[in-house]
């Protein structure tokens, strides 16, 4: 019953040391890694550097810049806090080590430990011969008969003691039984008296401090633990796996569930829906949804919102995740119209441009919208069409006088990544046809091209450039080859409060009933190498001479198919929609047929 606590406080320092090291060592390594590699991690991460990112930084307005600066600051403070913990931790460790070193109780306890190699002062890996010779040397020195006569009795006893130990050590290493004992119990004489105790320092358990302990325990178990657990639990409970608040998700589901065909789907409707999200209410409890709606519309129309400017930036930055949540729910309800509208709304918020036939043009910087819409002689609605004119004419059409600004606008326009479909087919890894009930995926070969590039027909890209390597691991996991492609670079979105690199959303629609059949797949890895090509449609005249397929990087997109191929043979048609979340224009919308054969 009477536990003997750690009288000489010889065990709890080790326990504390162990606990601290377990926490501190990985933390310190991580911290060092962040501090050293952290910088270049941002720089040299897979994001390919791209001219649009730099231009986007150049065109970012001051209020967005200050907003970003404020937001970014938070991160570094957090870093400091972690440093603090590390420094404190290591000082405690230092103190403990010093305490252990100085504490003699620990020292003599240490001598209790029987270590034959130390006694014979030979290395642990020495052979029997060395052990024997070492033993012989030492025993001659320490043998009682050999000891000098004039020793004092207590010296003599120490030496005799020493001799006994040496003999024991020798036996522990050579004689079978004692070695057996030593290996099993760590001591040749068999199991030693081991003292079991609680590694708690004495001062903690004697009567006076025990009250503090009890109170400590009650506080820990009664308040602190429940507090953290409940906070963690409410946090996890309140967020869906897509990262939006449960209440927002249920609101969106309710809107979709009660959606009437007589309602018209527009971006205004999407904005109204996300304005009722729980996130906004939590961020700004004092504001009503219609205020959020107005702010979002202000953002899209690039109107200043006065003192609600920061509020506007925060909800616009948040709307990104909300629209993805809404998109996910809309695809779960198989509603294509709302899925499309959600992505269009995201584009409108990213580019701060309302959805209109001229959005592709108006998303360019320095465009004088009024002059463009009135002035445009024949209907120019796409960048491709814009690039059929020469630069000067384009300047006039867009209403840009200043040459450098025009140059920058043209750079942006020619670097907006358009997708061109080269090959599209259903594929089952390792099969040449789609067999019934197999697990196909949609394999696309696309070319990232600029709007100024001359158009050429897809079959000018030879088949061998569109083959996937048929080696084993690509058969085992066909999606591995996609992740070798570089990540998308920072997008040109100077009005968006946060830096972003965007993605394409791939929707798969069943042509029979026009409904979405699976949740969207996000494409965030594609090489933009082709954009650096000139290949201007105004200069390139005949394709055969100037066109060389080798110069073009073919991108791969693989869309997993959510359900197995149908049972019976036949042709099934699916519509694949690949919509960019960043820019107006670079969307793909085509039909792929699945020919199910034996």
């Amino acid at each position: 019953q009477s536990y003997d606590y750690d009288e000489g406080s010889e065990t709890w320092p080790f326990f504390m040391l162990a606990v601290l090291c377990v926490i501190l060592v990985p933390l310190t390594i991580m911290q060092l890694w962040e501090a050293l590699a952290g910088g270049e991690k941002d720089r040299s991460s897979q994001h390919q550097q791209h001219v649009l990112g730099d231009l986007s930084e150049r065109y970012t307005g001051n209020d967005v810049r200050t907003f970003r600066a404020k937001y970014a600051a938070k991160k570094s403070k957090w870093l400091a806090k972690r440093n603090l913990v590390i420094i404190a931790g290591w000082t405690i460790v230092a103190y403990l080590v010093q305490h252990i070193g100085s504490n003699d109780a620990i020292k003599d306890a240490a001598t209790l430990l029987f270590d034959p190699y130390a006694l014979l002062d030979i290395s642990a890996s020495s052979t029997d011969r060395e052990i024997r010779s070492a033993y012989r040397k030492l025993s001659i020195k320490f043998h009682p008969d050999k000891l000098a006569k004039d020793l004092k009795p207590e010296e003599r006893s120490v030496l005799e003691e020493q001799y006994v130990m040496i003999t024991k050590a020798y036996k522990a290493l050579t004689d079978e039984i004692t070695r057996e004992n030593y290996l099993k119990y760590g001591h040749p004489d068999g199991p030693q008296a081991t003292s079991h105790g609680i590694a708690l320092p004495k001062f903690l358990v004697d009567s006076s401090a025990s009250l503090v302990m009890i109170v400590g325990y009650i506080a820990l178990l009664g308040f602190i633990l429940p507090f953290f657990v409940s906070r963690w639990w409410s946090k996890t409970q309140s967020m869906t796996k897509k990262g939006i608040h449960v209440k927002s998700a249920s609101y969106f589901s309710d809107r979709l569930f009660n959606f009437k065909p007589s309602q018209v789907v527009t971006t205004q409707l999407m904005i109204r829906w996300i304005s009722h999200s729980e996130e906004f209410k939590l961020m700004f409890p004092a504001l009503a949804p219609n205020i959020f709606e107005t702010l979002l519309h202000d953002h899209i129309n690039r109107k200043h919102s006065g003192n609600l400017q920061t509020t506007k930036f925060r909800i616009v930055a948040k709307s990104h995740i909300l629209l993805f949540g809404l998109l996910d729910i809309a695809t779960t309800f198989r509603n294509l119209e709302i899925s499309n509208a959600a992505i269009d709304t995201l584009k409108a918020l990213v580019q701060a441009i309302p959805l209109s036939p001229y959005s592709q043009i108006l998303q360019l910087p320095n465009v004088d919208a009024k002059r463009f819409v009135e002035g445009s002689v024949d209907d120019i609605r796409t960048l491709g069409k814009l690039f059929t004119y020469d630069d000067a004419k384009i300047g006039k059409i867009l209403g840009i006088e200043d040459a450098t600004q025009l140059q920058e606008t043209l750079t942006v326009a020619s670097n907006i990544p358009y997708l061109k479909l080269i090959r599209a087919e259903f594929k089952v890894p390792g099969e040449s046809v789609i067999t019934p009930l197999s697990t196909p995926h949609i394999s696309l070969k696309v070319l990232v091209r600029s709007a100024k590039h001359k158009f050429f027909s897809p079959n000018m890209i030879p088949d061998e450039m569109c083959q996937d390597e048929q080696d084993f691991d690509s058969l085992r996991d066909p999606f591995a080859s996609v992740s070798e492609q570089p990540k998308l670079p920072q997008s040109f979105a100077p009005y968006f409060p946060a830096k972003r690199s965007g993605c394409w959303c791939a929707l798969v629609v069943l042509q029979k009933d026009g409904k979405v059949i699976q949740t969207p797949m996000l494409i965030d890895r594609l090489s933009f190498a082709n954009l650096s090509q000139d290949f201007d449609k105004r200069t390139v005249k005949d394709l055969d001479k100037d066109f060389n397929p080798e110069n073009w990087a073919v991108g791969t997109i693989k869309i997993p198919f959510s359900q197995p191929a149908p049972e019976e043979k036949g042709d099934y048609f699916f519509r694949v929609i690949i919509k960019s979340t960043e820019y107006f224009g670079p969307d793909l919308d085509f039909t792929v047929s699945m020919a199910v054969r034996e």
Partner: protein
């Protein structure tokens, strides 16, 4: 929920639009029931309203024969309005749906001939929404969208039409024509 006795209508002050819509439906139903003087009415369509609608529609077709398009459109619109108003909510849905779809199909052609592409397009949308997926709906819809310069939408329409009816010549030629327009549209 409170009931207004003299106007015999239900109302729920300050309710959501979904509840509001249900209340309207109930009110409409009760009004028609109260107005119905024939005690043993059946879900079969009221034959005198059918004949009225038919007469109006016929006159529309007559105008069509005489190449008087505007009048034709007007009298077909009247026929549709008549159907919308006269038919009681309990008259067989299948009959009302067919009747409305039939009249709209004619109205679509009249609108397209007269260049009212947006009108034609919305009627075609309605026909598709109510389950009419025949090829000629896709043909007309693609044509209307091309006339409205919505080439992307036209392409997805015609591709869907071809998915449902791969051998349709008209759809194929529309697809080629639209791809050409798209290439031009994209410069």
């Amino acid at each position: 929920l409170n009931y207004n006795s003299n106007s015999k209508l239900l109302e729920v002050p300050g309710c959501s639009e979904d509840v509001e819509m249900n209340i309207q439906q109930i009110n409409k139903l009760t009004q028609d029931l109260v107005a119905e003087n024939n005690p043993n009415f059946t879900p079969q369509p009221h034959d005198d309203s059918t004949s009225m609608i038919k007469k109006l529609f016929e006159s529309g077709l007559k105008n069509l024969q005489q190449q008087k398009m505007a009048e034709a459109l007007k009298s077909i619109n009247l026929a549709i309005e008549m159907a919308q108003r006269k038919r009681a909510p309990w008259e067989a849905f299948a009959v009302q749906l067919q009747e409305l779809q039939f009249m709209l199909k004619n109205r679509v052609d009249l609108s397209l001939i007269q260049g009212k592409f947006m009108d034609g397009l919305q009627d075609l949308d309605f026909l598709q929404n109510t389950g009419l997926n025949s090829s000629d709906v896709f043909i007309r819809k693609t044509d209307a969208l091309m006339k409205l310069k919505q080439y992307e939408l036209a392409r997805s329409e015609v591709e869907r039409g071809l998915s449902l009816d791969p051998t349709n010549i008209k759809l194929k030629s529309l697809h080629i024509e639209n791809s050409r327009r798209l290439a031009e549209y994209n410069g």
